[in-house]
């Protein structure tokens, strides 16, 4: 069998089989990973961490951080407060109110402090140190560069806000869920957007993974069967048995058995039948 494997044909076939098995297995592993509950969903239920551990300064927001609960301590930038009008909440149109929060490292992060139906009554952010808890959101890309110099923005986009500040901003923004000291009661908390993809295992991808592994098994079994048949050709169906050449000895015994049976000598008849059967057996084994 080993020698047969070392022929060119079998080397090529074996390499092909190994390649197919590897590729199919990896495709299965890929689907297996896709079947797992996503990191996006995991981010939603993860315990809060400091905002700078998931959003690094001067780096784009990692997509798996979206929806993550974070904490931040610092002071709100009292000189810059922005509103984003045209935001719906509970069927009403109002504005989001946001302020950059200065972090101890000197950078800042935009915090959406809440929603208000009357931007004039939004009030201002607390001036002292605050502890903020909220969820990370990816920046809303406006597509247009900074609008005017007023407090009104068309979207929550750090890239648009940053040029108006003297310090760098983290990518994305944080939607406030809790604050100490408590947030202005005139602001209604904005429900953060949570990633919807990845709620648990994906059965379809799991099935695809299984399917790839079954295919890989097909290849292995096929390779083995081909090799086995090649080394030891299968028993080809026997042609119809050729008419057996008359066996004088056999015929004699059969005749004898018949005669003995007729003559009534049971013991002799049984013995001759036994001999005839032995002959038959030897005959069929010999083929």
């Amino acid at each position: 069998m080993l020698r047969r494997l070392l022929t060119l044909r079998w080397l090529a076939l074996s390499v092909l089989a190994v390649l197919l098995v590897v590729v199919m297995s990896l495709l299965g592993v890929w689907q297996w990973h896709r079947a797992q509950p996503s990191r996006y969903a995991a981010a939603v239920s993860a315990p809060p961490v400091g905002v700078t551990t998931v959003v690094r300064a001067a780096q784009p927001l990692p997509t798996y951080a979206v929806g993550r609960l974070v904490t931040a301590s610092g002071t709100y930038d009292a000189e810059h407060q922005f509103v984003v009008p045209g935001r719906r909440l509970n069927g009403q149109v109002g504005s989001w109110v946001l302020s950059p929060l200065r972090l101890p490292d000197g950078s800042g992060v935009i915090v959406v402090r809440g929603w208000t139906g009357t931007p004039e009554g939004a009030g201002f952010a607390p001036t002292g140190p605050v502890d903020v808890t909220g969820r990370v959101q990816s920046a809303e890309r406006t597509g247009s560069p900074a609008a005017g110099a007023g407090p009104e923005l068309s979207a929550v986009d750090p890239a648009v806000v940053a040029p108006r500040l003297s310090y760098p901003l983290l990518d994305g923004y944080v939607v406030l869920t809790a604050q100490s000291p408590p947030a202005n009661a005139a602001l209604t908390p904005v429900p953060p957007l949570l990633p919807t993809s990845g709620d648990g295992l994906h059965p379809r991808n799991l099935a695809y993974a299984l399917q790839w592994w079954v295919f890989a098994a097909f290849v292995m079994v096929g390779w083995w069967r081909m090799l086995r048949d090649d080394v030891q050709p299968p028993v080809t169906p026997e042609p119809a048995p050729a008419p057996v050449a008359p066996n004088p000895a056999l015929d004699r015994r059969r005749r004898q058995a018949l005669e003995d049976a007729v003559s009534g000598d049971d013991e002799l008849a049984a013995y001759n039948r036994y001999l005839a059967e032995l002959d038959d057996a030897a005959d069929s084994r010999g083929r």
């Binding site: 099935a207 399917q211 079954v214 079994v221 069967r225 026997e238």
Partner: protein, 112 residues
Amino acid sequence: MADAELRSDGRLRGAFGRYRVMAYVVGVMLLLLVAAMVVKYVGGHPFLVRVVAPIHGFLYIAYLVVALDLASKARWSLGRTVLVLLAGTVPFCSFVMERRVEQDFRSAPAAF
């Protein structure tokens, strides 16, 4: 008939039986899937497809397994094997193919 041949014939019979069952099951499931797709794309109700499609997918894999097993035991040519495998993907085709395979089996089980 020698022992080995008898045994392999029995195994062939078993493989053929499994193939017949799966060809029938996959054929019926495929018709169900077509009906479910009509319900989805004409009727606008996708729920039937969501139930039937994955079941059909699993059964088709099982069909592939038993058909390949039969192909290897009956020593079919590659072309015939592929034809029989593909027959499971065309509505009604698996019934036709199953009938043809059965006729061949009945007429010459030994040379099958």
